[in-house]
């Protein structure tokens, strides 16, 4: 099957207009030595119906949310995605457009991004947001690049209780940025502000996650203060779902708020595509990476929206740009806007409260020792299961329950610790089943 529209007679007429006798002649500029000269060795072509069947068979091999009861989170969460998200994202005018370079034809996407930027600023308490980053890991690297140029310093501090993939991505990009990465260990599941203050000396920025990777509420205002005392930019990595109930980073002294948008309006999709968000205080706007939409008018004074402050960007500033990002995650960010608009402020608070209540209820019903008993948590918590967590997961999955994430994968000495996530989709009777499975 192909998606081509030309008939044989079209082709002949077109070749004649061009003045060549065959398509082959159009490739005359290619040296003979670099021509393939054979067909590609790819599996046979498929009709649409065959694609449907083959990809259906691949999908059927996966244990998805409908096949296993999911208490697995660790950065990606099984929150409910309302049907209106699907309906909006299937609008072809939005789905099949590209970056709104021509604003008069792109007011739909531009206004949606402007509304998204507003929602992210409201959630995080920040002044400005970009139009999205790739995911919750890459926006952390973006924050480091901003901080490097804003402070001229060459070290970044990341708390060990920050998502391991976020830390790994920061460490991958830091050497190219000319940055050294220092990690601050957790103490009983949370970060010690004094320890962080010490590490923050001469740092460009301090990145902490709140609630952290263990689901624990960090002493976030104190962590931000520790960064600010060292004149390092305080960067909070936050879960949008938590921001209906938790104070936004802008209100406790952070310079930058970042996060993974998946939990707010995106399907799990085996890790992507999702959106990362990045918002900052207004003085950092000219160092922000990626697209930013601004308001303006036409000659008649009508309100409209355009890509703005583009002299930050690669297509104009080239090697001096604030980032190389071009294609971003607009469609997924649009999903986030639709989701947040569907919930509204009350709904967002309620989702957060329901997750927290379910998590507290689960802690009691499971009856297992908490890994960090003195800590308060949001929608996720760590329990000791008394034997290797991997074994527990294997046994539980045989009963159709995925009980959580094995923290020993990233943290030495935690092989018997399971990280259990509760979203508003879980029900009390499902928690009973989890308790039963884990007790077995």
């Amino acid at each position: 099957m192909s998606y081509l529209a030309l008939t044989d007679s079209d082709r002949e007429a077109m070749l004649e207009t061009i003045g060549v006798s065959s398509v082959e002649e159009l490739f005359a500029d290619l040296p003979v030595g670099v021509r393939l000269g054979r067909e590609l060795e790819l599996p046979p072509a498929m009709s649409e119906q065959e694609l449907n069947a083959y990809f259906g068979s691949l999908a059927a091999e996966n244990a998805h949310v409908g096949a296993e009861l999911l208490f697995l989170g660790a950065g990606m969460y099984d929150h409910y995605v309302p049907a209106i998200v699907d309906a909006v994202l299937q609008r072809g005018e939005l789905l099949t457009a590209y970056t709104p370079y021509q604003p008069e034809l792109s007011q739909g996407v531009l206004q949606a991004i402007f509304e998204y930027q507003t929602a992210i600023c409201e959630l995080t308490g920040m002044d400005v947001s970009n139009a999205s980053g790739y995911d919750g890991t890459t926006v952390a690297a973006d924050a480091c690049f901003i901080a490097k140029h804003a402070t001229g310093r060459s070290k970044v501090v990341v708390t060990e209780a920050t998502n391991p993939q976020v830390r790994q991505v920061v460490k991958t990009f830091a050497p190219g940025f000319g940055l050294e990465v220092v990690e601050v260990p957790h103490r009983d599941g949370a970060t010690d502000p004094d320890e962080l203050r010490e590490a923050a000396a001469d740092a460009a920025c301090v990145i902490f996650q709140h609630p952290n990777f263990f689901g624990v509420l960090e002493p976030a205002p104190e962590l931000a203060a520790a960064a600010n005392e060292a004149e390092a930019l305080a960067v909070a990595h936050v879960d949008p779902i938590s921001l209906g109930v938790l104070e936004p980073p802008g209100n406790y002294g952070c310079a930058i708020a970042i996060g993974e948008g998946q939990s707010a309006g995106n399907y799990l999709s085996y890790g992507g595509p999702h959106y990362g968000f990045l918002a900052a205080r207004s003085e950092l706007i000219r160092r922000m990476p990626g697209r930013i939409v601004g308001e303006t008018t036409d000659a008649a004074g009508n309100r409209g929206y355009v890509l703005t402050l583009q002299t930050r960007e690669q297509h104009i500033r080239r090697e001096k740009a604030t980032s190389n990002i071009t294609t971003n995650q607009t469609l997924l960010a649009l999903a986030g806007l639709v989701y947040l608009s569907w919930l509204g402020p009350e709904g967002l608070r309620e989702v957060g409260e329901t997750c927290m209540s379910l998590a507290e209820h689960a802690k009691k019903r499971l009856g297992l020792p908490l890994a960090f008993a003195d800590r308060q948590t949001f929608k996720e918590f760590a329990v000791r299961v008394g034997r290797p967590a991997q074994e527990v997961i294997r046994a539980a999955r045989e009963r159709g329950v995925h009980p959580g994430y094995p923290l020993g994968r990233d943290y030495p000495g935690m092989d018997d610790v399971l990280l259990v996530a509760l979203t508003e989709k879980r029900k009390p009777d499902e928690i009973e089943l989890l308790a039963e499975v884990l007790a077995a």
């Binding site: 604003p103 090697e319 980032s323 507290e360």
Partner: protein, 500 residues
């Protein structure tokens, strides 16, 4: 049109999350609790849907009409791919799911890697980079790791980039901690090989090249260029933005490239989504495989597993395996064509040359050669003689119902119009577009104001981009939101690249 926040009414709502009864009410400690709720929109679902539907009517996608945005490969997005990506087994699969619960997904990734290796003529693939520019940065980090291990990492600091390159290339060079060495374009639109010779030595890490270039021209000296770089021990990076021209015809690996990124949203039809998502897998030669991001997907017989035990890896560039939903769509696109993928590129090149043939007399053609999948015209003559710029031509095209081409890029062509029709357009569409372009050139002589005041009858007139920079309003400010119509208009338009 009102902003969604201006349609909001306190107390109105759409979604109602579950509130299970009988559960303890969990309290956030007061010092961490939110004091003021975020001012998110408050609308009922019918009004929400109308809002977003109205936004969609104010937007132009491939589904709306012809979208020849050069270097962006705006081809048809088959809807079967949307259906497949939305299968619960893909859409609702947790990325931390154990390997035995994700065999179908892992097989799909592995098969896509195999297909991309064959298409690029290289040995190993990582699907992880989130977009083309992230693929670039990843590729440059592979170079760093490769040279560091060979002991000449400190010496090799320079990356050569031609002046026709996308802005992402030099931006990526800086972010990788390398230094930029620009090289000129010659009179035929190829890299100036003489200029190049003087700039490549033992301090060179490598080259970044788009081939065919952003001029839509295949570099005729590619074998010589590869010999120059490999002769000094440098590496060759292929920017796959224009891969749509050569699939099944010529492979970057056979041209001498060591690292390639593939833009899945361009060549393999992931819908562009108003700006994204994309996908930027990289394919590399065997000697660079050990440095690829982790995890690698390994096949053991009929089972697939993730391998994190790669001591020489550069690390991770994005979460998990990459944008999996993009892989589903792009792999389905590739499987639709199968071994005949070459026809896709042949028709992309045919459509492009046909449009070029129809337009070459009405506009200036800076490099008079057969083009590949796209070509670049100049509106310089219209500007000089009638004051009608590339921007004016672009805006006037909207009146004819077309999305404009990329303009003011590449930078080496003044008043550039960069046109990429793609393979999925019918001849009638190409003819209608050519007729419109020719009519606009004629109008420029007869009534230049038509183009200068375009677009006409759109939801907004030509927007003041300078005002948006002078008075920065990047979010709704509720009661304090300014009225920009009261602010003075800016005098001049910005002649900056629009597209790519």
């Amino acid at each position: 049109m009102k902003l969604i926040y201006e349609k909001s009414h306190p107390g109105r709502r759409a979604g109602r999350p579950p509130r299970p009864e009988g559960l303890p009410r969990a309290e956030v400690p007061s010092e961490l609790a939110r004091a003021e709720p975020p001012r998110l929109p408050e609308l009922a679902e019918p009004d929400l849907l109308r809002h977003f539907t109205e936004l969609s009517t104010r937007n132009f996608g491939i589904d709306t009409g012809f979208y020849p945005l050069g270097s962006c490969t705006m081809k048809h997005n088959p809807r079967i791919n949307e259906r497949l990506a939305a299968l619960p087994g893909f859409r609702d699969l947790h990325p931390h799911q154990e390997e035995d619960g994700a065999q179908g997904a892992l097989r799909l990734c592995w098969e896509l890697q195999e297909a991309l290796a064959e298409i690029t003529g290289l040995d190993a693939v990582s699907l992880q980079p989130a977009a083309g520019s992230q693929g670039e940065l990843t590729g440059l980090l592979l170079m760093r790791a490769y040279f560091a291990e060979r002991g000449d990492g400190d010496q090799r600091r320079k990356v050569v980039i031609p002046d026709t390159a996308h802005g992402t290339n030099p931006a990526s060079v800086t972010m990788a901690g390398y230094e930029l060495t620009p090289v000129k374009t010659d009179a035929r639109g190829n890299i100036d090989v003489e200029d190049l010779r003087g700039k490549v030595d033992e301090h060179t890490a490598g080259l970044m090249l788009t081939n065919p270039s952003t001029l839509g021209l295949f570099d005729e000296n590619i074998e010589e260029i590869a010999a120059i770089f490999h002769g000094v021990g440098g590496l060759m990076y292929y920017d796959g933005a224009n891969l749509n021209a050569v699939c099944g015809v010529s492979r970057p690996g056979d041209m001498g490239f060591d690292i390639v990124h593939i833009n899945l949203h361009k060549t393999f039809s992931q819908p562009h989504g108003g700006g994204g998502p994309g996908g930027g897998p990289i394919a590399v030669a065997k000697r660079l495989e050990p440095y690829l991001p982790v995890p690698a997907i390994v096949r053991d017989g009929e089972r697939f597993r993730l391998d994190y035990d790669r001591p020489q890896t550069i690390g991770k560039v994005r979460g998990f395996l990459g944008p999996f939903g993009v892989f589903v769509r792009s792999y389905a696109f590739i499987r639709a064509y199968g071994p005949k993928l070459r026809e896709m590129s042949e028709v992309a090149v045919l459509n492009s040359n046909y449009l070029l043939a129809r337009l070459r007399d009405a506009y200036e053609l800076p490099y008079d050669r057969l083009c590949m999948h796209e070509f670049v015209l100049s509106a310089r003559k219209l500007k000089r003689e009638h004051g009608v710029t590339a921007l004016d031509v672009a805006k006037r095209l909207m009146d004819y119902g077309f999305h404009p081409p990329t303009i003011y890029f590449p930078l080496v062509v003044p008043e550039a119009l960069m046109i990429e029709p793609t393979e999925t357009e019918a001849k009638e569409t190409l003819d209608e577009f050519a007729d419109a372009m020719i009519a606009i050139a004629r109008e420029a002589a007869e009534d230049p104001e038509l183009a200068k005041s375009a677009p006409h009858g759109r939801v907004v007139g030509r927007l003041d981009e300078v005002k948006a920079v002078k008075r920065v309003v990047v979010r709704y400010l509720f009661d304090e939101h300014p009225d920009l119509s009261a602010e003075p208009a800016a005098a001049a338009a910005v002649e900056a690249p629009k597209g790519v």
